[in-house]
Symmetry: C2
Subunit: 346 residues, 2 copies
Amino acid sequence: MASASVKDVAALAQVSVGTVSNVLNRPEIVAPETVERVMSAMHKLSYVRNEAARQLRLGHSQALGLITLSGGNPFFTDLTTAAEDAAAEAGYSVIVGNSNDRRDREAGYLGLFEELRVRGVLLSPVGDPAARLRQLRERGIAAVLVDRVSSDDSFSSVSVDDVAGGALAAAHLIQSGRSRLAFVGGPLQIRQVSDRLAGARGEVAKHPGVTLEVVPVEALTVQEGRRAGEALVRRPPARRPDAVFAANDLVAVGLLQGLFINGRLAIPEDIALVGYDDIMFASASVVPLTSVRQPSQLIGRTGVEILIEESQNPALEPRHVLYQPQLVVRASSSAADRDAVSRVAH
Amino acid sequence: MASASVKDVAALAQVSVGTVSNVLNRPEIVAPETVERVMSAMHKLSYVRNEAARQLRLGHSQALGLITLSGGNPFFTDLTTAAEDAAAEAGYSVIVGNSNDRRDREAGYLGLFEELRVRGVLLSPVGDPAARLRQLRERGIAAVLVDRVSSDDSFSSVSVDDVAGGALAAAHLIQSGRSRLAFVGGPLQIRQVSDRLAGARGEVAKHPGVTLEVVPVEALTVQEGRRAGEALVRRPPARRPDAVFAANDLVAVGLLQGLFINGRLAIPEDIALVGYDDIMFASASVVPLTSVRQPSQLIGRTGVEILIEESQNPALEPRHVLYQPQLVVRASSSAADRDAVSRVAH
DNA sequence: TTGAAAGCGCTAACAC
DNA sequence: GTGTTAGCGCTTTCAA
């Protein structure tokens, strides 16, 4: 019942605990015959190394912390899986926490990771945690941001150009002949959200006569998107936008439910819709969704790689990797695409 | 740089380390004025408790392990979130791992959790890990299964009646007038999959003239579903099923892509489709999906609650909680529903 | 190649 | 109320 320790193994194998530790960590320096004997003792006692003791002695764990904005968003699950794979290859494990866009939850995980003495933290920040991250750095914990923070360039970042992505979406809508755009997203403290909006604004500014309205939502979820869609439907038609850019695909899917399924507006005829992330459900939604694609797996993998390098060498110059997003056009913004599909349906 | 320890705090506050430990763990037994002094010293040194040392001393961690079958499946993300909430309320944290239906990955996480000396493990098993779990139990680590394992009733379980769910789906399809059913799912070693199939088989057996074919897939993913759909499309129409029951909604969404979007078959006219889980994308898919709903959050919460109780009292009798699934009918299996929606679209 | 011993930071039992 | 101390299981010098 009480777990066997190195001591028990040593006793059974008739060697010292130092030798047991050596077969665990540097088997090449101990005599093959001794290795054999120790291994068999471990097996007999079903010995399992105590990670806490190891970590206490070493001064830090073999884990990385990852804080995502939302566990339900396929963009982050893809990113997470890739991060775990990259970490595993380097012998690290990953502890994942979701802040759900809340500063207090982010702070909570940062505290937990600090107590756990993780080697580094990869995070999609809510607001601006730079001060907190500097404190972790003091303690030897590296940090890499998914999406850089404005106030402190001393932390490496891996991001996608969200301003460019927002511009891409708005330009496409304007080119399709739309002039009353709405941006549905929030909270604006999230950089991804405000950048996508800024990109769209920049594009709108280039086209006189085109307007952009902001419809705020409390979170980037299907539910909030549906609520926003229902509110839009209740407006008199003349006051409705003719195109909507959603801050992510979850919101876009919710808008589809609110506008199309419940609200009975035609997409894209009445309102054209563009989402963001190109999650795997985008192409299979009730009206296939035009979306801005991000390389989620690449972001996760690159982030972990930089994090591991920096945790091993804190003196490294911070790096800022910026990937470019890509527009994927489908039926929700293009009548041609819509008809191609709906003709088949009947 | 080197982290401050209780010793440093004690020195600065001019008390002993025992007192520092007491303000950390039982502040009510130390004089208010002393608490004050110690707290301020902690703050000055930005002291953060070393969880590894605490855990080493205590003999176990304050964490629970959770192993899901798939991180990309919204059913499991819902379950996970609810589990985390329930754990947090009781002062535990949750470490999550995805086995992706692979035994070796499941074994890997079980090993990691054992090294971490977690208090308990909640898992959706691949195959039958009962022997391994008994070994963890020896070490004082409790286990609760999401979906019970046949070979050992001594572990508590929280599951949904998958046999009933499969019967529900098949009965609905047969009642809608279909007679050549196909079940798309796999691997069959996963209990959820084989039970859903068994339920469907039982229902089919009651109706002479109705057949059920099994179309195996390697994993319950959108990609595998799409592949299966494309294979079905390539068959001569007479050899195609007139109804498909997918082992989960991810597969169903993939089938929708393969059959409808790429294959240009009419859903439900040519093939009626039923999925499983009722994820939030089911109602917003290209043809809204009929699905069997499971109480994912309730499962996660109940599982954690039982786990915590059992980790505190290993002598408890194992419990088996069984929830009932519920059929949600949408357009993918019912022409009436489909027309209601598609009429609006034009 | 192996053994002996110190010490990582913490908690809890016991003494004062 | 507070101080002293042993020891959790491990790794890593240093000696032999």
